[in-house]
């Protein structure tokens, strides 16, 4: 199908809006991230201003990168792939636009309220109840259009990427709604409907499944469309995709409890969470292997195509973090890693390595396809890749170093049976790692700035008619 015919058949406007908003959110989110990381390395940066102090700004970073950058990528790539894999135009386009606009309003509301201390104080679910409602409405609209478009598909089978998307749509609805249950005191404050151990369990049921479904199932869905498409190769194994789809759908849900090892939550729950965490490596690696092996016969593209490189390295990071995750989910490793920077490193090896890189790869792919053009500068895409990768590796290794060091310093006893270090000693020891981490974050931010610049120039060239039309083989 030629790109011209696609343009008429599919709604690309909504995808374009999501992709550009996503890139801007990525720039903003990593800027805030770099700043809060710098605050930990150089606390004077808090500047005694309440609104930019670490505790208030850190959730702005997490929300903007997860729901802003990640969310708009999922919406954009979701609308793109559901059209391409069903050969149907988006159904109920007004509802689709409502989903996108509500999501944007929700994200902006998060940014506007969190610095002023309006927070539910639930990690990755900080937005107050009325913002929750806006985001939930958006999600319902998204689900309606997405499922309706699948229902209007022009072939009998539903593409595997869409299964993963569907799993995300359902599970995120469950966890978002149940974790968000609260009784408002007013617009700025609400009390969770749960307390103590129950609140903890529901929070990490949400917390880990936001990772498991929003950032994994959804992004795996994205991977299942964009990797084969960009490599111009079929998916390696149909059977493997079935196997790891159902096992991932079932298993991920259980593992949130590993965030609560050795806490007051009943031990059987934690053991169950630990066991399921270890088992989860199989479905995770199923996806990784299926993506990687899809590259068979197309590995040469890595030499010439930086977008392909983004996608493949993303899969490598996915494989690595899903090996690290089960490891940290076991009680003995968790005893050391919990409460330390290792957790932060693990999250970022998933977020910067897997999520950001597959997202960026998919975004470049969509930009060139939708505007039917080569990027303004292939060199800048390549530069983005190396800057991002260097930043991600610096970040992750710094956090591994500080995390393991923290864990070991806290539990160190001398030959007389006394604690060797004070807590303050461990804080002092973190400084070089925190500085390095901030540098890593800054590189990732710089990479996204390069991407934004390149995208603006690309679209500008298309508008001016001075672009190079797409040479892609499909």
């Amino acid at each position: 199908m030629s790109s011209v015919a696609e343009k008429e058949q599919y709604n690309y406007d909504i995808v374009k809006f999501c992709v550009i908003t996503g890139i801007i959110m990525g720039v903003l989110g990593t800027l805030v991230g770099t700043f809060v990381a710098s605050e930990l390395a150089y606390p004077w940066l808090n500047m005694d201003i309440a609104e930019i102090s670490f505790g208030r700004l850190r959730p702005v970073h997490t929300n903007v990168v997860i729901f802003g950058f990640g969310g708009f990528l999922l919406y954009g790539a979701g609308f793109y792939m559901v059209q391409h894999t069903t050969h149907a135009r988006i159904r109920f386009e007004k509802i689709a636009w409502a989903a996108v606009i509500l999501w944007l309003i929700g994200c902006l509301a998060v940014v506007a309220t969190l610095p002023f201390g309006m927070t539910q104080a639930k990690e990755y679910h900080e937005a107050e109840w009325w913002i929750d409602i806006i985001l939930a409405l958006s999600w319902v609209c998204m689900t309606i259009t997405f499922l309706s478009t699948i229902a209007a598909r022009k072939m009998s089978h539903i593409y595997v990427g869409l299964w993963f998307f569907m799993t995300m749509l359902f599970m995120v609805t469950y966890i978002f709604v149940f974790n968000g249950m609260c009784i408002p005191v007013d617009m700025t404050f609400s009390y969770s409907a749960y307390a103590g151990i129950h609140d903890a369990m529901i929070q990490w049921w949400w917390g880990h499944n936001a990772v498991g479904f929003f950032l994994t199932a959804g992004f795996i869905g994205v991977m299942y469309y964009f990797v084969p498409k960009h490599a111009n190769r079929p998916i390696y194994s149909y059977r493997l995709s079935i196997l790891h789809f159902w096992s991932l759908t079932f298993l991920y849900v259980w593992v949130g409890a590993h965030h609560l090892h050795y806490t007051a939550v009943p031990d059987w729950t934690l053991s169950l969470g630990a066991g399921m965490s270890v088992a989860l490596i199989f479905p995770s690696w199923g996806g990784m292997i299926n993506g990687m092996m899809t590259m068979s016969g197309a590995w040469d593209k890595l030499r010439t195509d930086p977008v392909m490189r983004f996608m493949v390295v993303a899969l490598a990071f996915y494989g690595m973090s899903t090996f690290e995750g089960p490891l940290m989910g076991t009680k003995s490793v968790n005893a050391l890693s919990h409460y330390t920077d290792w957790t932060v490193g693990h999250v970022h090896s998933g977020a910067l390595g897997w999520n950001a890189m597959i997202a960026i790869g998919a975004m470049y792919h969509m930009i060139t396809r939708m505007w039917n053009t080569e990027m303004f500068s292939e060199k800048l895409v390549n530069m983005h890749f190396w800057v991002h990768l260097t930043g991600a590796v610096l970040y992750i290794t710094a956090m591994w170093g500080s995390g393991v060091l923290q864990g070991l310093m806290w539990r160190a006893f001398d030959e007389y049976g006394n604690l060797v270090y004070t807590f303050a000693d461990s804080v002092a020891a973190m400084h070089p790692f925190y500085a390095l981490r901030a540098l890593g974050g800054f590189l990732v931010f710089s990479g996204l700035c390069i991407m934004l610049y390149n995208t603006i120039k690309t679209i500008g060239a298309v508008k001016a008619g001075s672009n190079t039309p797409l040479r892609a083989a499909d």
């Binding site: 208030r56 959730p59 307390a195 151990i197």
Partner: protein, 281 residues
């Protein structure tokens, strides 16, 4: 052709071709499958007696502490400070007895945190003087050289906004927190009494209310034993200034009671009893 496809679509006897060709079937399977894990792990804890064993001494926050809790949440303290001591020797040495489920039973939401950029706070109460906290909030580095905590200068200068205190108590009472009508009606007097701005007038009434041994919520009465003497409420000008109630008063009042409610006894195995009978009814 169709027969060939059907065979191809059979995965170990499961007709996957049919499943993946039907949106309703696929959607139903997915919707059910993703719900299982959460239900199995979350729901039983509400019904199992030993999930949250009862201990004596855990009471709801006083109005002033409740405002302190809200400030703790507002400033995002939980992002760097945990409130959940694990049963390890180093944590016992550094922070005290491991945390019990009941100790956070009235925390909507829980403040266990997930990260220790700063130290664990579950048993911070009484560890430092009020003056230390005041200085630490002004400039953490002046008392802990290596600290990376921001200066919280605005807490000391901002008068405590009490416009929501009563509503907060009402909301909590509508859940499982045993505030009674008297607690809620006297919120203002209790708040002022605890911050020491009423010349000691309301102190006795405050103590009578929050050092009591009978708690009732929604018909469920919790009666502590006669010999149990609840931990005394801290009553004073926490920020050192008895002329007004500031946000710092509330926050320090909250911090100074953390982890002090339960009186741990020698010879009671609070860990392994977790799997057997509740410690005490």
């Amino acid at each position: 052709m169709s027969e060939k496809r059907e065979n191809k679509g059979m995965i170990r006897g499961i007709p996957h071709d049919t499943i993946e060709s039907s949106l309703p079937i696929l959607a139903t399977f997915v919707a059910i499958l993703v719900a299982v894990g959460g239900i199995v792990e979350i729901v039983p804890a509400y019904y199992l007696d030993d999930a949250e064993p009862a201990v004596e001494g855990v009471r709801p926050y006083t109005p002033l502490e409740l405002e302190g809790y809200a400030i703790y949440r507002r400033e995002g303290c939980f992002l760097c400070h945990s409130q959940m001591i694990r049963p390890f020797r180093d944590e016992k040495e550094r922070y005290g007895h491991f945390s019990l489920a009941a100790e956070s039973q009235f925390d909507h939401n829980y403040q266990w945190g997930s990260k220790r950029t700063g130290p664990e706070l579950a048993r911070l109460g009484g560890k430092y003087t009020d003056a230390w906290h005041v200085q630490h909030m002004r400039q953490p580095k002046s008392v802990v050289q290596a600290s990376v905590m921001p200066n919280y200068l605005w807490l000391e200068t901002t008068p405590l906004n009490t416009s929501r205190t009563k509503a907060r108590m009402e909301v909590l009472a509508s859940m499982n927190v045993p505030y009674n009508a008297g607690d809620i009606a006297n919120w203002e007097a209790d708040l002022k009494a605890q911050a020491g701005v009423d010349d000691g007038e309301g102190e006795d009434a405050l103590r009578a209310r929050y050092e009591r041994t009978t708690w009732e919520n929604d018909g469920v009465v919790t009666q502590w034993t006669d010999t149990f003497v609840p931990t005394p409420i801290n009553v004073r000008a926490f920020d050192g200034d008895a002329s007004d109630v500031t946000e710092l008063d509330a926050l320090i009042a909250y911090l100074q009671q953390l982890g002090t409610a339960v009186h741990f006894e020698d010879g009671v195995d609070y860990y392994h009893d977790k799997f057997g009978k509740p410690y005490r009814k």
